[in-house]
């Protein structure tokens, strides 16, 4: 089935472009269908509900070097959910049919890139698919030609290209020393003596840190997220930044580094710094999308911090936090789009008392905020708990304490967001604001439901994750 995950969206992309001009609006429907199919089809085998091994002859016939495992399933499902949310939001968010059509095409291209990232076993192919996703995302940022969009896109393009240069230099060093860049070759190279494989690893990690928006390379993230049109922000914050940066770190942790001490310390330090600085930067923002962007930086720091914990539990904790963040952050950006559409502004200083006028948006954003802040019994609480336990198990009490304390800061800025936007008496200028219609409400409601459900049935989820990540 792994090859179908690359080929089906590709076929859908070609199909969408072969449609006659009058049938172009169907392209968003095609994209939605592909995303839904992916989410369901990939989630069924781990739950024991379906077995796609009958499709294996297709894979051997085509013969690309991709393979799926449970970590891939995580990324594929998260990508499907975030992608569906952004396609739903594209309807109300983008005004012209041409923009919607191009958005559907770009999401499909990025989806193929993300699917590729989840399944490759080779550093260079990983680089190629990260670039595919990145290029599709550059265009997503400038889809609506706003003034700020070009500034945000420029920073993103330049920093992303610098990251590519670092990754390629690392690949060149690996070719020199080992002769190959598959994951097994890298593991072999790191096991042999000499500083060069470790220098190459450090370069590659720096490249991934830039792509993932970790401190000190987080400068492009807030600008790109707030300048992009709202559906693009949902897609970027929900899955793209995580897939390009942090997922590769998780894959390397699982297959290559496993228990290596230097990389564990790198993850601990970089994760902790990112998580603290992201949280404090989020506190100071008055623009809602920028606050959410810095919150994303902070949560990505949590995921990287988890990778510095014990090898078995750390990856499970990181995976769970990855999924929770994909679901909750997509939903928060969908809420931000709803507010922006109704109010025409995204500055929280001018908002107030929207809770009574937009009850569904308020309720779902409360669920997502509390989940990310780590309140039981929502899903976010479990992932944070696992992260703290994973750190505790290897004796990193200081870092565990940092994680817990920054959770309080997270709770602080989210409560500040809720208070500024939803509580209180509605201001006079928002007297005519009403709740948004179905297409923006559906993803918000669905994602909140998933957050609550994962939180409630967590023991089942935990046994699945522990059983799968080997």
């Amino acid at each position: 089935m792994s090859h179908l995950l690359l080929l089906v969206p590709f076929a859908a992309l070609i199909l969408a472009n072969l449609l006659p001009r009058s049938a172009r609006p169907a392209a968003t429907g095609i994209a939605l269908g592909v995303l839904a199919l992916q989410t369901v089809a990939v989630a069924l085998p781990p739950l024991g509900l379906a077995d796609w091994s009958a499709l294996n002859p297709v894979d051997t016939a085509i013969g690309l070097h991709v393979s799926m495992d449970n970590l891939s399933v995580l990324l594929l499902v998260s990508a499907g959910l975030a992608g569906m949310a952004s396609i739903f939001a594209a309807g109300p968010g983008l005004k012209t049919p041409r923009e919607r059509f191009l958005f559907a095409n770009l999401v499909l291209v990025a989806l193929i890139g993300i699917n590729g990232i989840s399944m490759v076993r080779d550093l260079f192919s990983l680089y190629v698919f990260i670039e595919v996703t990145a290029i599709a995302t550059f265009i997503l940022v400038v889809l609506r030609h706003g003034v700020e969009a070009y500034e945000g896109a420029w920073k993103y393009v330049i920093l992303s290209a610098v990251a590519s240069v670092l990754m390629l230099a690392s690949i060149a060093l690996f070719i020199l020393v080992e002769g190959g860049v598959s994951l097994s070759a890298i593991t072999h190279a790191l096991a042999s003596p000499g500083p060069i494989p470790w220098i190459a690893t450090a370069l590659f990690l720096c490249g991934l840190f830039i792509k993932g928006g970790l401190v000190p390379f987080h400068g492009w993230l807030a600008d790109a997220y707030s300048a992009a049109p709202a559906p693009s922000s949902i897609f970027m914050a929900g899955i793209v930044t995580k897939a390009s940066g942090v997922f590769a770190l998780m894959r390397l942790s699982q297959s290559v580094f496993v228990d290596a001490l230097p990389t564990r310390w790198i993850f601990l330090v970089v994760g902790a710094v990112t998580l603290v600085i992201g949280a404090f930067l989020a506190l100071t923002q008055s623009d809602m999308k920028r606050m959410l962007a810095y919150s994303s930086v902070s949560q990505i720091g949590y995921i990287v911090l988890a990778l510095g914990g014990s090898p078995q539990l750390g990856i499970v904790a990181a995976a769970l936090h990855f999924f929770n963040h994909a679901v909750s952050k997509s939903q928060l950006f969908a809420n931000a789009q709803a507010i922006e559409e109704q109010l025409g502004t995204i500055s929280m200083d001018r908002m107030g008392g929207l809770g009574s006028r937009m009850p569904v948006t308020a309720g779902t954003s409360a669920v997502a905020s509390l989940s990310i802040a780590g309140l039981p019994p929502l899903a976010g609480f479990w992932s944070k708990l696992l992260i703290v336990i994973a750190l505790w198990q290897v004796g990193q009490y200081v870092f565990a304490a940092i994680a817990i304390l920054t959770s309080l800061v997270t709770l602080g800025y989210f409560l500040s967001l809720q208070r500024r936007v939803f509580f209180g008496v509605p201001l006079a200028e928002w007297a005519n604001v009403r709740e948004v219609r179905g297409r923006l409400l559906t993803p918000a409601l669905a994602l909140s439901l998933i957050t609550v459900a994962v939180g409630l049935v967590f023991p089942l989820v935990l046994s699945l994750l522990l059983g799968g990540s080997r």
């Binding site: 969009a149 896109a153 420029w154 240069v165 060149a172 070719i175 300048a227």
Partner: protein
């Protein structure tokens, strides 16, 4: 099976570093968007050069060439998109000076 490679590695590495420093300096010391793109291009050339050198010294020219071909394709698409962003920036601000951006603060 490993061998020690001749000192020519350090010769190539020297020139790779010189190109790298040149590209980075060009990108950092300018306010013009197009010149930043030129600096980026120099950086990508340096790393393309390094890939070929690694293939030459490690006797893996086939693999290195295959990678360089892919990298060149990626590089040209990134440059085209960056050029498009520059054009959009120019239409919005009527200048290519990055000091004229007033909205986003990072």
């Amino acid at each position: 099976m490993t061998i020690e490679i001749p000192q020519s590695f350090w010769l190539y590495f020297t020139f790779f570093t010189l190109l790298l420093v040149d590209g980075v300096w060009c990108m950092l010391a300018t306010y013009n968007l197009l010149r930043m793109l030129i600096g980026l291009e120099i950086l990508m050339k340096s790393v393309t050069f390094f890939l070929i050198v690694a293939g030459y010294l490690g006797h893996r020219m086939a693999l290195a060439q295959a990678m360089v071909i892919t990298v060149i394709v990626i590089e040209v698409v990134v440059v085209v998109i960056a050029a498009g962003v520059i054009l959009g920036f120019f239409r919005a601000h009527n200048s290519l000076n990055i000091r004229h951006t007033r909205n986003l603060k990072g």
